[in-house]
Amino acid sequence: MIPKTACLKILGAGLTGFLLVAVQASDQAWGNSPVSEQSVKPDTLGWPARFGLGRPATAKEIAVVDIDVWPDGTGLPAGSGTVSAGKALYTAQCTVCHGATGTESATLGGRLVATSLTGREKAIGNYWPYATTLFDYIRRAMPLTAPGSLSNDEVYSLTAFLLQANQIIDSTVVINAKTLPKVVMPAQKFFVPDDRKGGREIR
């Protein structure tokens, strides 16, 4: 026996609220053949609170991949680096793509060192808003042909050298998890959130 109207409450992800579906089922239209309610009810089970898929991630396995560094320094590892060690590393491993001084423009890796804050060419000193991004990026992606091969001390040293080359720190500053987040980048004050919003005004 089919009810004239069956109201089915379907929980859509528990996020979009619920949807009422009215299923009109006329005995005459269907002949009198028995029609399973299942055949006219989508998602009759609804969604469970959780599907129970996946397995718990252990702190240990998260730590292996959790390599990001936050602007406040969260995620920075132990260790430290100096400008002089960074300069030697830069000369040995970075000049092939970034040029001898980092001020070169037409390089595969692009310009790294700004000579003035208002210079048009984007570089670390006139465009990068956070010093922590240097450590995060060098550690995850550099050098191009052997990403992830640098030790934490080497990454700190390269960070120190590049900050010094951009005249943001002096050559005696040691860069580590405490000092790096305190470095204020000159370009940070220029950054504003997206203000485009559709409509007729071109922004």
């Binding site: 528990g14 969604w47 898929l53 718990p56 396995e61 959790d66 991004t133 990403p147 485009r196």
Partner: protein, 399 residues
């Protein structure tokens, strides 16, 4: 003998145990009989091939590869012609070893295998994906095709699990406002994305046009953010970390940001503004007098295309183009406009209006709003084409 000359052309016809011929390569001569009705054709194959007469190719550079927009029809980009942009090459990832970890400000830090992701309710959606650095029309070169100018946009039917489903599964905490998406390519590329986008319409996709993702598109699984700049749809996705602030990664600070007026730099400019481009007739096509159909694509990251207008007199007058259905949300939409070319020199162009009433601007209007030094991100100008009396069609740079 079937396919005469098979022994000398690089052909391989294998006999199955059922004695059926199976084509696994196509012999040179099978393509070119003068009369195809007099020679048996190639037998059924394991994998379809494109006609030898069609030369559909992406145009690669060191960092990207462009879709041949001028050679395609309809709205779906064949997966092997989808544009590419990557920051550390295309990695090889064994799907059996693939894992996605979601952690940070969640109740249940969880590891999902690819099989886990595929067990969740699946959603399919046709959407464009476009790189925000998709305009190469500044300068004086007129021998540029749509592929050269804006070939870093493509469209697919994407299939996967809604990110909101996974967020619910792991219990995203109310204080979480951003999440980091991290790829497992050699750049271990990262972007920060607002959690609101994750709950709105973000997906973790594992299929494209009915097949598993292509490696260049993030195999075996990627983030997909409808309507947003392609870089944020992180490929080869290995990790999502929920947090209460953006992470300020390199790709959202020193890259994918644009200088605007008053010395400011616009950041987290995710949405792709509306754009249209004529794909025929354009360079390198040559046309003849008489009737022809101007065809193109229009799309908006803010919703549906509302209308497309075409001008055949250098922007003096505009005419409504036909929108070819389906007109989908955040999707390439095909437009067409019937035109009788009288053989005289003119300029043709198109402009789109999306459902927010945004009108595609000129390059001059964009540079006026943002300043001349804005760089190359989020440039979506009206693109014009010169039609010469001899039928040659050339790109017409604006400024």
């Amino acid at each position: 003998m079937l396919l005469g000359g098979a022994a000398t052309a690089a052909v391989a016809i294998t006999q199955t145990s059922f004695a059926k011929a199976v084509q696994i390569g196509i012999p040179e001569k099978a393509f070119g009989p003068d009369d195809p009705t007099k020679v048996p054709g190639a037998p059924p194959g394991e994998l379809g091939t494109r006609s030898k007469f069609e030369k559909l190719l992406k145009s690669p550079s060191e960092i990207s590869s462009r879709t041949p927009l001028q050679d395609l029809y309809g709205i779906i980009t064949p997966a092997d012609l989808h544009f590419e942009r990557h920051h550390g090459g295309v990695p090889v990832i064994d799907p059996a070893k693939y894992e996605l970890v979601i952690h940070g400000m969640v109740d249940k830090p969880t590891v999902f295998t690819l099989a886990d992701l595929k067990r969740f309710p699946s959603v399919s959606r046709i959407c464009f994906l476009e790189c925000s650095g998709n305009y190469r029309g500044r300068g004086t070169n007129q021998k540029l095709s749509p592929q050269d100018i804006c070939g870093l946009t493509s469209q697919s039917e994407w299939t996967g699990v809604l990110l909101s489903t996974l967020f619910r599964e792991v219990g995203v905490q109310p204080k979480a406002t951003w999440f980091l998406a991290e790829g497992s390519d050699a750049a271990v590329m990262t972007r920060s994305v607002p959690v609101s986008k994750g709950f709105d319409d973000a997906m973790i996709v594992y299929a494209q046009n009915g097949e598993p993702l292509r490696p260049e598109q993030g195999y075996p699984a990627r983030l997909f953010l409808p309507g947003w700049e392609g870089n944020a749809s992180v490929k080869w996705l290995r990790r999502l970390e929920l947090a209460d602030q953006p992470f300020m990664t390199r790709e959202e600070t020193s890259k994918y940001t644009e200088p605007i007026r008053n010395g400011k730099i616009r950041q987290f400019s995710f949405t792709i503004d509306a754009r249209s481009v004529i794909t025929y007739p354009t360079y390198p096509a040559t046309i003849q007098k008489g009737w022809l159909e101007i065809r193109g694509l229009a799309w908006s990251g803010r919703g549906k295309v509302r209308q497309v207008e075409v001008s055949t007199d250098n922007g003096k007058t505009w005419h409504l183009a036909q929108l070819q259905g389906p007109v989908l949300d955040k999707a390439h939409t095909r437009f067409r406009y019937l035109w009788q070319w009288n053989g005289s020199e003119t300029v043709i162009m198109s402009r789109v209006i999306d459902e927010t009433d945004y009108l595609q601007p000129t390059l001059r209007e964009l540079l006026t709003a943002r300043g001349a030094d804005t760089g190359g991100y989020h440039l979506n100008p009206i693109t014009a084409w010169e039609v010469k009396p001899n039928g040659q069609v050339l790109f017409r740079p604006e400024v």
